[in-house]
């Protein structure tokens, strides 16, 4: 296994800058999740690493090898596509063995590696079926087996869970995590789903407009976002933002800053800043309380206020984030 290094990678499509000076390092054996909104360049990033798109500028290294200008097959990476890209006319067995057969590996090697990969992802019973006879989750497993069988230096996963229903997605997320632990491979996983990113990654890279905004462990990104974009992107419901004037009833906020507070940290108290409850959304054990100040509070369902009620709001300074109003960069409390 090898790590992946990208230095100042640039890729344009006409006037659109898909990757705009992109820097990222995935350590050997790391599961790094790249998360960002649709159209931010995530898939282009994977395609550039795989060699399916030629970069305009910059450097891509896999292990010790500079792979920036070499053909896809020579990079020894496996990619799992969003649509799985299983060959519909081949059986599951033939799909999994495909890469080895193309490389003309001996039959015994193909047989042994296919058996190993199918056992790892649990598709032994499906080997003679064709992809259109499989469920979404089963196709996903077969796609993973096809990626595994070649023992690549790194795995590139392009939104592999996005076509699955909610239940299967949760199951496959755990499965991916288990698989990563078992094989200890370097994996670069791309998704637009922040929950998937937060639960799956050793580290997360938040991406926007072709650049990395912040890289770090999930809890670091959630608890100490380096800018307003990262703060807003991670977390459901999104972080509340209050301009300095609107924030002052809660905390002494300096001019030229914006106060950010996550919904779970916007507390409902008896003697807080007064507000009227407009809408209450119940989501299982939690309820999202929308108040007339344009804020959302996350409270336990069993302690939720009724719509139309007057409540008091409070924010602890320890839970509040400050961002520069102009640049959006994090500002530390003084």
């Amino acid at each position: 296994m090898s790590g992946i290094v990208l230095e100042d990678v640039r890729k344009r499509f006409g006037e659109t800058r898909a990757l705009d000076g992109f820097d990222l390092t995935a350590a050997e054996g790391e599961l790094l999740v790249v998360v960002g909104p649709s159209g931010c360049g995530k898939s282009t990033l994977l395609r550039c690493i795989a060699g399916l798109e030629a970069v305009d500028d910059g450097l891509i290294r896999i292990g010790d090898q500079d792979v920036t200008r070499i053909r896809p097959a020579a990079r020894n990476v496996s990619m799992v596509f969003q649509s799985y890209a299983l060959f519909p006319h081949l059986t599951v067995r033939e799909n999994i063995a495909f890469g080895l057969v193309v490389r003309e590996e001996p039959k015994e090697v193909v047989r042994a590696r296919v058996a190993e990969a199918t056992q790892l992802v649990g598709v032994e019973a499906l080997l003679e079926r064709r992809p259109y006879e499989l469920s979404g989750g089963e196709r996903q497993r077969v796609a993973l087996a096809r990626a595994l069988v070649r023992r690549p230096d790194a795995f590139l996963l392009d939104e592999p869970l996005s076509n699955l229903d909610a239940g299967t997605r949760v199951e496959m997320r755990t499965e991916l995590r288990r698989l990563h632990r078992e094989i200890g491979a370097t994996m670069l996983h791309v998704t637009h789903d922040q929950v998937e990113a937060l639960t799956l990654g050793d580290r997360i890279a938040v991406m926007d407009a072709g650049r990395v905004r912040q890289v770090g462990p999930p809890d670091e990104l959630y608890l100490r976002p380096q800018d307003r974009f990262v703060a807003a992107f991670l977390g459901t419901p999104a972080m509340n933002f209050l301009p300095a004037d609107a924030a002052r009833p809660f905390l002494p906020v300096p001019d030229g800053t914006v106060l950010g507070v996550r919904p779970e940290h916007l507390r409902l108290v008896a003697d807080g800043v007064p507000a009227r409850v407009e809408i209450v959304e119940v989501a299982g054990s939690d309820a999202f309380v929308h108040v007339d100040r344009g804020l959302v509070s996350k409270v336990p369902s069993d302690g939720r206020p009724a719509e139309g009620m007057q409540v008091g709001l409070a924010i602890d300074r320890a839970d509040a984030h400050l961002f520069d109003e102009a640049s959006g960069a994090r500002v530390e409390w003084t």
Binding site: F81, S83, A85, F87, G99, Y132, R139
Partner: protein, 249 residues
Amino acid sequence: MVSGSLREPGSAPPRTPELLPTPLSTASYGRAFDLVDLARHTLNSLIVAGLTVPLAVLVASWAGFAFLLVAGRARSILIGLSFAALMVPLTALLVPRFVLFRWLELTDTWVPLIAPALLGLSPFYVLLYYWSFRRLPPELLEAARLEGMQPFAMWRRLGMPLVRPVTVAIALLAFITTWGNFLDPLIYLFNPDLYTLPLGLRSLEALDRTNYPVLLAGAVVATAPVVVAFVIAQRYFLHEDRGAGWLGR
């Protein structure tokens, strides 16, 4: 046509529509084969079609796949040229083609009949293949590229198996075109031993112009292979049943 061919040779056409003639007779078929060497002409047509159709399918599919792999502007130019070629009437090419084949001393051979297959027989077939290959999810070819598959292997092992109904349809169209081709054999073939079936039918008509049962028997012989080919082919392109999710969509 079948009903008329089952009348006695030399009998006049019926005055009212007639499903089954009385008496039923297959003598017109015997007479047709006696007058003209229809068996020889049928064999010739089968040889010409047997060489032309696979060659046309091969070249058209190669060209269509190449269109898919060629990037951006070059592809647009190729497609534009194909459309332009499609708009040229075949009759406009008769004289230059004849001059060319005579210069090559290939007249009175089957080469001029088979040679168009080296260009895919028609630009329409090339474009049809291109459109079919374009419908395939691009990730399939990208996955193959990542595994190190070369373009020819992609065409053979991925492209062609995934557009099989299109191949059957194009093969059938090419067969019908070649089988019914009257003009080219008329221009290029002089030796009766090389005549194809449409020229045989013309000979039949010249020899016994008013013997309608015999002429219709010849027409049935000429039509039957096309009908058989269609019946065999239709199950491939009318009953394509691979369930939802074929092509992963």
